[in-house]
């Protein structure tokens, strides 16, 4: 189910709500996604996208496997996006996108791409959009206890109940390198509860919260980048 809500002040905004209670032995995850469009997008043949994680903060950082997941999923959609890996991109324009040097605002991007060598290299590798991702997944609560006893005959038997909640919160800012403007942003929030009930045998029912956030964000990003608005 997806519901779109339009926000008056912004040119376009969409809010989707997706409840995923997937296959057996998967916990329930609720994910919402929001889109704010500030400029037209669209991709032509040869245009590439780079998904980058913000690494300048000293206390929190987006997980590298989340960046890899979004990059990977963008290439697997029905209308796949041509993605260049984060590592390949930062190496090819070294040192301009190193953690402590990379442009934090789109105005700073203009300064970087005004350097002829950088502009030439970006043109050469065909990068049209930079997608900056900030956020992370964290465990917000946990409870319960599980004990396993080795009974006669060395057979283990467990009893108890463990539960924990995970929350994901990610925002992607999309910069158009060709025009040097911020095209918009897509954000997602996902939460889910995992359980491990055990009566003799523990049965883990894991909520794949980060994976759901990745899928939701990638779908919305793909639509944002490819569709011409």
């Amino acid at each position: 189910m997806r519901a779109i809500v339009w926000s008056g002040a912004l040119r376009a905004a969409g809010v989707g709500a997706i409840g995923i209670c997937a296959a057996a032995l998967s916990g329930c995850v609720t994910a919402t996604v929001q889109e704010v469009r500030e400029a037209e997008t669209g991709m032509t043949e040869g245009d590439r996208v780079v998904v980058l994680g913000r690494r300048h903060k000293t206390r929190s950082e987006t997980e590298t496997d989340f960046i890899d997941c979004v990059s990977d999923q963008l290439t697997r959609k029905r209308e796949p996006v041509n993605v260049m890996s984060e590592g390949e991109f930062v190496d090819s324009v070294f040192p301009w996108f190193e953690p402590l040097v990379a442009p934090l605002e789109v105005d700073d991007l203009s300064h970087v791409i005004s350097k002829p060598l950088v502009a030439e290299r970006i043109d050469e590798i065909g990068v049209r959009y930079l997608v900056w991702i900030e956020g992370h997944t964290e465990r917000t609560a946990e409870a319960g206890r599980l004990t396993c006893n080795v009974i006669s005959g060395a057979i283990p038997a467990c009893i108890g109940f463990l539960t924990w909640d995970n929350d994901s919160n990610y925002e992607a800012s999309i910069w158009d390198v060709r025009t040097g403007i911020n095209a918009g942003r897509v954000s997602t929030e996902a939460s889910g509860t995992s359980f491990v009930p055990a009566v003799v045998v523990p049965i883990p029912i894991i909520a794949r919260v980060r994976q759901s956030a990745c899928t939701t964000l990638s779908e919305q990003l793909q639509a944002f980048l490819v569709s011409e608005h």
Partner: protein
């Protein structure tokens, strides 16, 4: 009867395997050539012994012995950075063999510090390296000593719980620190007044 708290079992296993073992890290990486306009100067570069064989050894209480070997990787990092920064660089075998260059540049290793998540109650392995770049004129006079700090970090969440996160985390943080050194050097060294003066003198 044995009672096991399963919730803690993975942590216990990981702790037993990696908990008190410290880490032995040999840093090996290729930092890309910086994408910068070269300065119109012919300079000599002399690599001090401090740069070639540096090994950091430290014991962290309750966490074991740590050894970070940076020696073999620093020279290529600086060579690439200087090759990009200047129109021509000459590798000097000694400070005396200046070979008619406009200046002699000597990168000097000063200090390395690191921290692991258990020390900071955070989630990052962090490495700080302090270099000094000495610049000598063609007459051998010291023109300037420029401080070059470098920082790298690595998120422990990027490693699996059965992985040697201390070794991998410190290696990755060291690599980011070396990249930061090369980035800082290539972007900010041309702004050092003495270097700007040499460029102006060379053009004049």
């Amino acid at each position: 009867m044995t009672v096991v708290r399963l919730g803690l079992l993975p942590v216990a296993v990981a702790f037993a395997v990696f908990g008190c073992t410290g880490a032995n890290v040999v840093v090996n990486t290729v930092v890309p050539s910086p994408l910068v306009e070269p300065l119109p100067l012919r300079v000599g570069v002399f690599f001090d012994e401090s740069l070639r064989g540096y090994v950091h050894e430290e014991t962290v209480e309750d966490h074991g012995d740590f050894r970070i070997e940076l020696g073999s990787v620093q020279v290529p990092v600086f060579e690439r950075a200087f090759d990009a920064l200047f129109e021509e660089t000459v590798a000097l075998s000694s400070m005396e063999a200046t070979d008619g260059v406009a200046a002699v540049i000597v990168p000097v290793f000063e200090e390395l510090q690191f921290s692991i998540p258990a020390q900071t109650r955070g989630q990052f392995f962090e490495v700080w390296i302090k270099y000094r770049i000495d610049v000598f004129g063609s007459d051998g006079e010291l023109l300037t000593s420029w401080a070059l700090p470098a920082y790298g970090k690595s998120n422990e969440r990027n490693f699996g719980f059965m992985e040697d996160s201390k070794g991998s985390g410190l290696t990755e943080a060291s690599v980011w620190a070396l990249r930061d050194a090369a980035a800082h050097l290539s972007l900010y060294f041309p702004r050092v007044p003495e270097i700007a003066e040499l460029v102006q003198g060379g053009q004049g």
